[in-house]
Symmetry: C2
Subunit: 332 residues, 2 copies
């Protein structure tokens, strides 16, 4: 009788302590997104347009948050979140991407997995509905990291990804931007026409960071120009040892600065925080070269950085600690 | 009379001291090149073939050395030196480049100026005779850093660069390599078919570093694959603050490692020498991911690193101190 009571007692204690352990382990997860940095102004942005962006950012970041909360991987969260922004005509990625010199859409995207350091990218696609999924597919199902042009489209087709005619991506707003860019003497100096991109960095409950970025590039771009977005180290980088990064802005400067990897290197080699490293890259390195743009980054503890040297950056963040931020202007 | 003697005396002293100053200022310049890292073997390489490589490496490095010695810029030295290797069928760049899945040549190249941090690159060209010149032209004459495919060819044509039909680049040896790659179950695992590239890093008398890389990429590559060579930060990087770098090897691993910039970051942020940083990237970082290849690098004092984790790397070095090395195998 005493033995039975003792056993029941120990089982009870064991059960209680197990529950306590479970409660004490904080399941940290975190997600941050951007929808492009640029020269947006409070004076010219109507409340209606502002609401459209806020609502879409909310929808995208919440979708990724739910995946992470339910135990999904950071890779899945990044892919699904970016798809929502690619499918929205509000952003310069997927449907609604900017137009090149010939009046066509050419899409770039990249993805990196911070655990395996595997990566995939596509550039110059004229038909892949969701370039972020193609980038992940290149990583998973090809011996290569980066595919381009017609080859990227052919690969996506082989992978049974959804393709669309170029007309699917083209919206009136971008036709007008192209017209305006062509009417100017030096279109490359118009900041508004070379920025705007979507990106997402996520940390899942298992401590794995993923990062992805997707864009139509720069209005009026020529000669199959490739910007920073599909370049691992410039537009996208992820490493569980340090952080995940997605950039947006005048891509040429982010390539020359190797911006995304530089944030990781400043953390790994100089012991900076993700916030300090992001500030240095955006406000010192990129700015010194004359470049403009922004960056989102996330470290392995879920700390977030959202830095820009432009007037604003569409951005949002949610995490397991109950933080939720959705912002547009720099001073927000 | 005394006044005249005094003047002559002072003029003499002044002349002697000027000559002394001139003699004491060491005009440091340095150049290092590679012609690809790979699985070359002493047993299978005939003396005749070995001599061909040694002679061509000598011709290329000497041409760059003369430019630097005569006060030319590191940019000119890198361009002219790489052109000699692109024009030779011995290397996987320009004439003699490897063939893609469809049996065509697709050429990649990049260049970076360590003073301005300007850069240019082309990828997937099927007609540019000297891709390194096109990369420099993108840097100088376009608002972009990286152009690709037919757009890169169109840009080069606009710039009056020499174009050639694809047949100009194709040699029998590469046709056989493609046949052999296609006959194997998993061609991507054959190291010999994915490496071999040319590169050059130079430091001129004015303290400016330039770096450039040029390649045909990987035998049997598909879907307009882009390797590390045209990617600033992966295949090529230059910064007067730290070093210039050109890589060669299994490109996918150099992209995922952001290899070229990582050498610079290890020097800038951790205070490592160019030799220490190159060793870490090749023998620790690249090797840990399972990648193979090599790197050449040069710091602002003219110190050189030539590291590889393969059996050999065609490489040569000359500098203002009278050093001259031409090597093939790792233990050379």
């Amino acid at each position: 009788m005493i033995n039975k009571i003792t056993i029941v007692f120990f089982l009870l204690i064991s059960c209680i302590s197990k529950n306590n352990v479970k409660e004490n382990v904080e399941e940290v997860f975190s997600i941050v997104i951007h929808g492009g940095a640029g020269t947006m102004s409070r004076n010219t942005m109507t409340e209606e347009i502002k609401k459209q962006y806020i609502d879409k950012l909310d929808e995208a970041v919440s979708a990724g948050y739910r995946i992470l909360k339910n135990g999904g991987s950071s890779q899945e969260a990044v892919e699904k979140t970016i798809i929502i922004m690619e499918d929205s005509p509000l952003f310069n990625a997927g449907k609604g991407a900017v137009l090149n010199y010939e009046g066509n859409v050419e899409l770039d995207a990249s993805f990196m997995n911070g655990k395996s350091l595997n990566a995939g990218a596509i550039s110059g696609s004229s038909s892949i509905k969701n370039p972020i999924s193609a980038a992940i597919s290149v990583m998973k199902n090809s011996p290569h990291v980066m595919l381009s042009g017609a080859g990227a489209d052919e690969f996506a087709n082989n992978q049974k990804l959804v393709l669309q005619p170029n007309s699917y991506f083209i919206i009136n707003r971008r036709l007008n931007s192209l017209k305006s860019a062509k009417s100017k003497e030096n279109p490359s100096n118009n900041l508004e026409q070379k920025i705007g991109t979507v990106g997402c960095v996520a940390l899942d409950k298992y401590g794995n960071i993923s990062a992805g970025t997707s864009t139509g590039g720069m209005t009026n771009k020529r000669w199959n120009r490739i910007g920073d977005v599909p370049i691992i180290g410039s537009g996208t980088y992820a490493n569980n040892k340090t952080c995940g990064v997605s950039t947006t802005g005048w891509g040429e400067f982010f390539i020359r600065s190797v911006a995304a990897y530089d944030i990781s290197a400043l953390m790994e080699y100089k012991g900076l925080t993700v916030s300090e490293a992001s500030k240095i890259v955006i406000h010192e390195k990129i700015a010194k070269l004359g470049g403009n743009g922004g960056v989102i980054a996330l470290d392995v503890k879920g700390n977030v950085a959202m830095e820009m040297n432009t007037e604003g950056m569409y951005r949002a963040h949610m995490d397991s600690r109950g933080n939720k931020k959705i912002k547009i202007f720099r001073e927000d």
